[in-house]
Subunit: 673 residues, 2 copies
């Protein structure tokens, strides 16, 4: 008995090696060859419903409403539109402690950044700070008008716990350049109105994407293109700051690197203000030093977070005391108080600026959304909580629509401040509310001081902030992993730096799309061979040990077969056949009698695909080669049967595995070549 | 000894059934588990070159030039640009017999059709017939001006042996409606000039696509959309003919079915001319009868081919004898003789009509190309000869550019006449030349008669011709095979019929594209189970017999993982996991410890895909589930290794087959559930 067991052990070890060969020899007598099965029949309605649900509602948002009372449905709906009602119930003092500290931290980071960003959008600082604070009534603190709206709206509607809302550098730059293309007089009231109009339509497009559940559209801008676009924008923004940093008075309005550098060097001998440069550079060094410290020790994140505020306070006092503004150091000046009116009446709903407003709004809205969703996903994945993309878009949309009615421009979630918010231990969106309040209070108390803040410090703050967007490691990784991604990234980067933000964006989107189109037009195909000692058939290019079968060619098609590639796939298969045949005949091997198409990766097939197979079958008939299919998937076999193509090819030429094909057709063929 | 052999036979029969299970039990001691291999390293240059070649030169057009003498290269190049120099050398009398007969046949079919089609494009008949004939000098036969150009150019440059060149109904309608949107006075000289301009740019775009080897772009219009567009156009064209058929004098200029039917019925009591109706309907019945006969007996194809000519001759004589034109039967009238000047100076190269000319030209050129390539491919596949898509585009482009300089409008290959050409036994493009000559001679001889040809007969001829474009069987097949294709088809059809040709075209393209986008955003995933008695793992939905593995979930991703779907795939896998876990735990089964992702169909992965897997890995870690990969392809494993993701997941968690995964991780697990 023990002998038999031991025997069996050895035998089983051998079985694995022999099984492929043995199954071939005994092919027609084996009972285990399964028939390719059709999936259970579905009604047309169910089929369409499933497809629509999978496209627009992959997260099954309505599942939770099933079998609930009317009141419960109302509560759930309210909670899903305003997540604050959900997490708010479990909100406790411990959460608030985290939110309060992080709110304070991001407030101190944001106040100086926001003032600086508004300059990028060619707007007065109030329009940036207004994003930060709440309420429809805007308290005019000199030029530092404020409102409470956007973070407050987001706190109620957003589903991310980490995002810190406000104006961001890239969107501000985008708005600034595209709006000034339309209206060159950036001090005019029209310019301001156009900014509100763009913000309104940015909100509308964001909301529309969320409501129509078209959020997946933003997935069409590739990660690589975003990296390139962000890096390019960061470089462009930093270059723009040379004006403030060097105290240059006449500066180009263009953003491309050539124009900017020409402006800088042509003003080198007379236009630079040395006092400004000293202030700007010393604070830039301070800010970068603070960032470096944080990089070395993550626990000191608050050093970087408060460094801009310190810079503003110190520089403002210095200027106030030394009266450096008399020596040509430019300062913010004009700071007045009061409550602003609503901007609802300012939005262009008709006239010649409606079109440009919509265009700029849609672009800015999409860019803002791409940035916010990327950030939201990153942090949601880090903390492993669910993020509802469509809800996020609705929140962003609502926030920008309300913002546009209360003198705000496009706001979104920013990379660096969200990271700071997270590191400072935020728990919920309450940190956004805390931040708003803190900003409001701070402004009320220290407002008069901003009058003497030098522009050079704002430039330093922007440069230090946007350098965080330059992600060299990500670019190196792109180069290592995917050359096409690297090209997309560089295309977007150079487009932004050498031409302008819009062109860079266009290049990024175009490259992203062409990659998708390439994928669907020229899918890969592979020649399969048998892995020695197994019944597995694998790409012979990847596994040089895999051996092809005498008299048979096995081709795997690695994509759904649609109109966009059906013709190519047909011709590619025929080309494989011709190439292989020539090669085998010159090697003195027998001619190819069977062509097996491994269909496992072919998830779908449309009518063009059916026609392509008909044509392939006919071409092969003329060459006296038998077409065989291995493992057509559920959808594919159903369509093959519906079109009666299975009758043409023959049901007995369709197998569930390549091993079955080989065992049936090749009598004694061990692998060859 | 014989006992042992027999034993072995039985054992081997059993092996197949046991092998899966046994390999699992002995997993770690088996030597046959292959390591996932990286493909041979390639230089970046070679990688990029291969990708470019596969995209733009899948047919390897330069292979034949390798290792040839300079003179031979010149000859080969000449032959590839002008295929006539290749097939012309083997041209013999037998070929000419076939071409001569088919040339005669299509000439008799085309003369009446062309006169009729010109009316669709709002042009005088000469501009249609000019397509048919050759030479730069155009012989003015009354209004029936003719030139020899387009078929002659095609005969030299085209690679299809069957296509019959000329104006076609759909392109004529498209030109007619789009041009008259730009210039409403269709009798003006500007209208004519715009038609030549559009033709010129149609040729330019066609040639450009060929030269730049962008021919694959036309694959982006799906077969289904073409069927719908053609059927819709046929219905629209037939409806337009009610004007001529019923002898209505005041008719709408719109093409949508509502406007047309309103026009028809509002003129029912006073605007219809009963003599016209009798002529029109009787010849329509005659033409349809001829078609029906051919359908019953393919050998009588010449009956349908000459029936339009007979109709024209008989009706013209009848009108001439009875002078029915005095009773309100509209006739062609004005027929003058002479030689026309070239139209090279007529093309708008600047001014306000340049833009519309380019726009209309590009649309018409693309539609004409789509039709011609579809036809060319069909017949090339039928006779199994190679068709060079890019060469075909260059031929079409050259022909239309030359045509535009010689007073022709856009011409292409027509469905019905190509079929007739084929049935009449054409051998080469010489049949096009014969046709041109025959048309020229016929016109010279019977010209004066055309003066009395009633418009009603032209209407009948068009209706009979376009009914061939209504392909009910194809639409039924679409419904049976692919519901999405059916929707695309109906969208295009209703767009054309209820709005206009351009909108129909737009709908067709939009639906085609959205299908592609859907495919790349929402790829399919499947849960795999083991087919009993094999080591094959298949979709459990398709194979209900396939059994899942206790403690393990096997998910197959059926698409390359790119930025457009990476996030969806990650979330879909996690959703599968949650759903399955809930189900298994309620069934009292053990929790899922291993998640195997079958990567066979994943042909490529970009940086977004890498990030998605990183996030997936992290999410799974939190749930205490081990991520395992099975059979990553060559490109994928290379990128996984380049990004060091293999180190995160662990090289020993990556296997070449699912069977290996199961044998390694599941100690005693036969399939469960």
């Amino acid at each position: 008995m023990s002998q038999r067991v031991s025997d069996e052990g050895v035998r089983k070890g051998m079985e694995e090696i022999k099984s492929g060969a043995s199954s071939r020899r005994h092919g027609d007598t084996l009972s285990h060859i399964h028939r390719v099965e059709s999936p259970p029949k579905q009604t047309l309605f169910k089929e369409i419903k499933d497809s629509v649900v999978e496209t627009f509602f992959p997260d099954k948002p309505l599942n939770k409403f099933k079998d609930q009372s009317f009141f419960r449905i109302f509560v759930l709906a309210l909670q899903s539109f305003f997540p604050i009602f959900k997490w708010g119930r479990d909100y406790n003092l411990k959460n608030f402690r985290g939110d309060f500290i992080s709110g304070l931290t991001i407030a101190s980071l944001c106040i100086p950044q926001d003032i600086a960003y508004a300059k990028l959008a060619n707007l007065d600082p109030q329009y940036a700070l207004c994003e930060r604070l709440g309420f429809v009534l805007r308290i005019q603190l000199g030029d530092l008008n404020t409102s409470f709206v956007t973070p407050l709206v987001y706190a109620f509607m957003g589903s991310s716990r980490d995002i810190a809302i406000g104006p961001v550098a890239v969107v501000s730059l985008l708005l600034g350049t595209t709006l000034s293309d339309e209206i060159s007089d950036i001090k005019s009231h029209e310019y301001l109105r156009l900014a509100f109009t763009a913000t309104f339509f940015a909100g509308v497009i964001q909301m529309a994407l969320g409501v129509l559940r078209l959020g997946f559209l933003i997935d069409f801008v590739s990660h690589a293109a975003v990296v390139g676009f962000m890096t390019g924008s960061a470089i462009t923004i930093a270059l723009q700051q040379l004006k403030g940093l060097l105290g240059i008075e006449t500066f180009t309005k263009k953003t491309d690197i050539v124009s900017v550098m020409r402006s800088v060097f042509s003003s080198a001998h007379h236009g630079w203000n040395w006092e400004t440069i000293v202030i700007g550079l010393s604070f830039l060094v301070f800010l970068l030093l603070a960032k470096y410290i944080v990089k070395k020790n993550k626990k000191l994140f608050w050093v970087a977070a408060i460094s801009p505020m310190i810079s503003v306070i110190v520089s403002t006092f210095s200027v106030y005391i030394t009266r450096a503004d008399k020596k040509g150091v430019e300062i913010i000046k004009h700071v007045k108080k009061g409550v602003n009116s609503s901007s609802a009446g300012e939005i262009f709903f008709s006239g010649k600026y409606l079109g440009p407003g919509i265009r700029v709004g849609v672009i800015a809205g999409m860019v803002a959304l791409t940035e916010a969703v990327a950030i939201g996903r990153t942090f949601a994945a880090m903390k492993d909580y669910p993020l509802d993309g469509n809800q996020e878009m609705m929140a962003m949309g609502a926030m920008n629509i309300v913002g546009s009615l209360t003198s705000c421009y496009v706001s979104t979630g920013g990379f660096s401040r969200t990271a700071v918010n997270n590191m400072a231990g935020c728990k919920t969106a309450v940190s956004n509310i805390v931040m708003s309040m803190v900003v409001l209070l701070t402004l009320l108390l220290i407002t008069p001081l901003f009058e003497y803040t030098p522009n050079a410090v704002l430039a330093s703050i922007i440069i230090a902030a946007v350098l965080g967007l330059v992600n060299i490691e990500a670019i190196i990784l792109l180069w290592k992993i995917d050359k096409f991604d690297f090209v997309a990234c560089m295309g977007a980067l150079f487009g932004v730096v050498f031409i302008n933000v819009e062109i860079g964006l266009l290049i990024a989107v175009a490259i992203s799309f062409s990659k998708i189109l390439l994928q669907v037009t020229r899918p890969r195909t592979a020649i399969l061979g048998k892995l020695p000692g197994t019944t597995a058939y694998r790409n012979v290019w990847q596994y040089p040990k895999a051996t092809q079968i005498d008299g048979m060619l096995i081709v795997r098609v690695d994509s759904a077969i649609y109109f966009s590639n059906s013709n190519y796939i047909k011709e590619r298969i025929l080309r494989w056949l011709s190439d292989e045949e020539t090669q085998r005949i010159t090697s003195g091997l027998s001619r190819i009698e069977y062509l097996t198409v491994e269909m496992s990766p072919v998830t779908d097939l449309d009518t063009s695909g059916i026609h392509a197979f008909e044509e392939l079958y006919r071409s092969l008939q003329k060459r006296k080669v038998q077409l065989i299919m291995a493992n057509p998937g559920p959808i594919v076999i159903e369509k093959l049967r519906a079109s009666k193509l299975t009758d043409v090819i023959g049901e007995n030429n369709i197998f569930p595995t390549v091993a079955d094909v080989v065992s049936t057709f090749v009598a004694n063929g061990e692998g060859v070549l």
